[in-house]
């Protein structure tokens, strides 16, 4: 897994509640058996009109948000299906960090397993950021995971919470299977106790 330490990048706004994983990556793209290359299908039904011409009404298509690596959005982002194709698509598109007032549980976990950082912020902070992002072209934030803070262009900083174990894994890009395998003897002992031969 690729590590996540600090990130400075353009912030793109996605103003919608309950964005579900069917919107993040529609089902027709789940038929692929690869793990990469999903970025071009991200938000497909919102992003494109007939014939795959970019939809000018979809905010992420605005040139000012080109190259964005931080997604700013609203409550319950990533609800619905467990498809890990959702974080794969966001990551492949270039998003490494997502800011929202709340996330759906499975999606939230899937992000960490792909070296991405979803951050929960108070709703008022999110609303303020929406205002600032829209008001300033090229608005960038710096996300500092070791210090658990987000630094605004004016130098002001916002503290955030992150699970200490998930933080440790992200900073070091740790492979969770490898971490668990360290405890192989304990798994074997548990199986023996349960009679799982």
């Amino acid at each position: 897994m690729k590590p996540f330490t600090t990130l400075t990048g353009i912030v793109a706004p996605l103003e919608a509640l309950n964005v579900d994983t069917d919107q993040i990556i529609p089902k027709q793209f789940l038929k692929r058996i690869e793990r990469t290359g999903y970025g071009k299908f991200l938000f497909f039904d919102w992003r494109y009109l007939e014939g795959e011409t970019p939809n000018p009404e979809f905010e992420l298509n605005a040139p000012r948000y080109g190259g964005a690596s931080i997604l700013l959005t609203k409550e319950n982002f990533g609800c619905g299906s467990s498809r890990e194709h959702a974080p794969w698509a966001l990551d492949d598109y270039g998003f490494r960090c997502i800011l929202a007032p709340s996330f759906a549980d499975i999606f939230f976990n899937n992000c960490f397993n792909n070296g991405m950082l979803p951050i929960v912020l108070p709703i008022e902070t999110i609303e303020t950021l929406f205002g600032e992002v829209r008001a300033t072209e090229g608005y960038e934030l710096t996300v500092d995971l070791p210090e658990q803070k987000i630094v605004k262009p004016n130098g002001e900083s916002i503290a955030f919470e992150v699970d200490p174990f998930k933080k440790h894994c992200l900073l070091n890009g740790l492979d969770q299977i490898g971490l668990t395998m360290v405890h192989e003897e304990k798994i074997a002992a548990y199986e023996k106790k349960r009679g799982i031969a």
Partner: protein
């Protein structure tokens, strides 16, 4: 100390716990399907790993497979490849796979309980958010991502944090015609689509106890639509009766011994929860969703919202967007909404009892002329055979409905069963998200009885006043 069922299952499955880290939780059963597994198998291959316990893992193809003639090849080359990839992976890694020609095949969440692979007290995972279905059996079952699928394959464990517990008590008894689907939709309407986030739900109360296993599976299935990863029901006589004689029960114990063990998993008298929500079953009307999130739901006597009456800005914005997508006016009575398609099936409502309820309504009626397609898709091949033995298929065919092979079908429309733009469908599935059943398609979630009645009338109608023909 009195424990609830979640605490009992959790405590019995912790392999290793360390302060400040996620616990290592043992997984008793891993279900696998073709969509969320290929990258996990590939990961194992690249790392030179194998499955730690292939005998605890069972696979089936359900998302992509056609519901029409199975003797013909799958038209879509990508679907075909994904299905073939699962077969090849199962062969290579030694996993039992019920392929689409197997009489035991079907939607993974229908066949697990049906085969007796899902049992009380188990920890069960699958790369699918509707894994919570298995919770009806008194198991801790939840959906995981593909990285976690690979983790379970390699270690038979998962890194987990203990959840908070939410007790949803449904008191009293349901009015006639009101079903398990209406209970869970009413719950989601009450607590919201994020109301269960961070919790494992235990459903209790007289109305839950009175449900069949099929009904309990419908309720637990949609726990994820309330934001909860898992939802479960403590096992009781209904559970034990359902499980008796199932094919994959352990052979080294008698049924009495098994039942004695299973009983111990039920929540103790006097146990506690982090949060409790109560509903009165008598207040629940047949439910219909009007929007693009399962929480956008109301009773059959209700109307679509009037935007000026929605006080929260974000919710008003969401309702406005949903009504526009659904092409519905504000304040429109639900019974005035006309449909042109109907779909009965899915892991939510594709079991035998669901088909019986729909057939009871359809018996002696014909679908309305304006209905272009009324699709009945059994949840498994075993459900299909049983329904045919009971003559349900004939009732559906006589009504002008189509009778298909099993699979996920139009719930998520990964196969050829897709809505066209502008179609409006009464569906017994679990998600009414934009485009879920096909780009530009509009989905209204309802119970099987309500779906059948809507196909006959051409619009939603109150099933509580239905005239049944015998």
């Amino acid at each position: 100390m009195a424990k609830n069922i979640y605490e009992k299952i959790w405590d019995a499955h912790v392999v290793h716990a360390e302060e400040g880290k996620d616990s290592i939780l043992y997984i008793d059963r891993h279900y696998v399907h073709e969509v969320t597994s290929p990258q996990a198998f590939e990961g194992l291959r690249l790392a030179g790993r194998t499955l730690r316990r292939p005998e605890l893992t069972f696979a089936t193809m359900d998302h992509n497979i056609p519901t029409t003639d199975r003797s013909k090849p799958i038209d879509d080359p990508m679907s075909k490849k994904q299905v073939e990839t699962l077969s090849a992976n199962c062969k290579e890694f030694g996993v039992r796979c019920f392929d689409m020609f197997d009489s035991r095949s079907g939607i993974v969440h229908v066949i697990g309980p049906e085969l007796g692979l899902t049992r009380p007290g188990m920890t069960i995972v699958c790369g699918d958010s509707h894994t919570a279905t298995h919770g009806a059996m008194g198991a801790l079952a939840f959906g995981i991502g593909t990285s976690e699928v690979e983790h379970v394959m390699a270690t038979q464990t998962l890194l987990q944090k203990r959840s908070k517990t939410l007790n949803i008590r449904v008191n009293g008894s349901l009015p006639n015609g009101v079903t398990a689907k209406d209970i869970i939709l009413a719950i989601i309407g009450k607590i919201g689509t994020a109301g269960g986030t961070g919790y494992v739900i235990e459903y209790t109360g007289d109305a839950i106890r009175a449900l069949s296993m099929e009904g309990r599976m419908t309720v637990c299935n949609m726990s994820i639509e309330a934001g909860a990863r898992a939802g479960l029901v403590s096992p009781d006589e209904t559970t034990f009766e359902y499980l008796k004689g199932r094919e994959y029960l352990p052979k080294d114990q008698s049924e009495d011994e098994l039942v004695a063990e299973w009983k111990n998993w039920a929540s103790d008298e006097g146990c506690s929860y982090d949060k409790v929500v109560e509903l009165d079953a008598a207040d629940i009307q047949p439910q219909v969703t009007w929007g693009t999130s399962p929480g956008m739901v109301t009773g059959i006597e209700g109307k679509t919202p009037v935007l000026s009456e929605v006080s929260n800005d974000n919710e008003r914005l969401a309702a406005e967007k949903a009504l526009a997508y659904m092409d519905l006016a504000e304040g429109l009575p639900i019974q005035n909404i006309k449909i042109n398609k109907m779909y009965i099936g899915s892991c939510t409502n594709g079991r035998i009892e669901d088909l019986r309820e729909a057939a009871k309504v359809a018996k002696g009626y014909k679908k309305c002329d304006s209905i272009e397609l009324a699709l009945i898709v059994p949840g498994s091949q075993q459900v299909k055979v049983q329904a045919e033995e009971e003559g349900l298929d004939k009732i559906f065919i006589d009504a002008g409905f189509e009778w298909r092979e099993s699979g996920c079908s139009m719930c998520l429309a990964m196969n050829a069963d897709v809505l066209n733009p502008g179609d409006r469908c009464a569906a017994t599935s679990n998600r009414n998200f934009e485009g879920r059943q096909g780009k530009g398609g509009r989905t209204h979630l309802v119970s099987p009885a309500m779906a059948a009645a809507a196909a006959i009338c051409g619009h939603f109608t109150d099933i509580r006043t239905w005239e049944y023909k015998s």
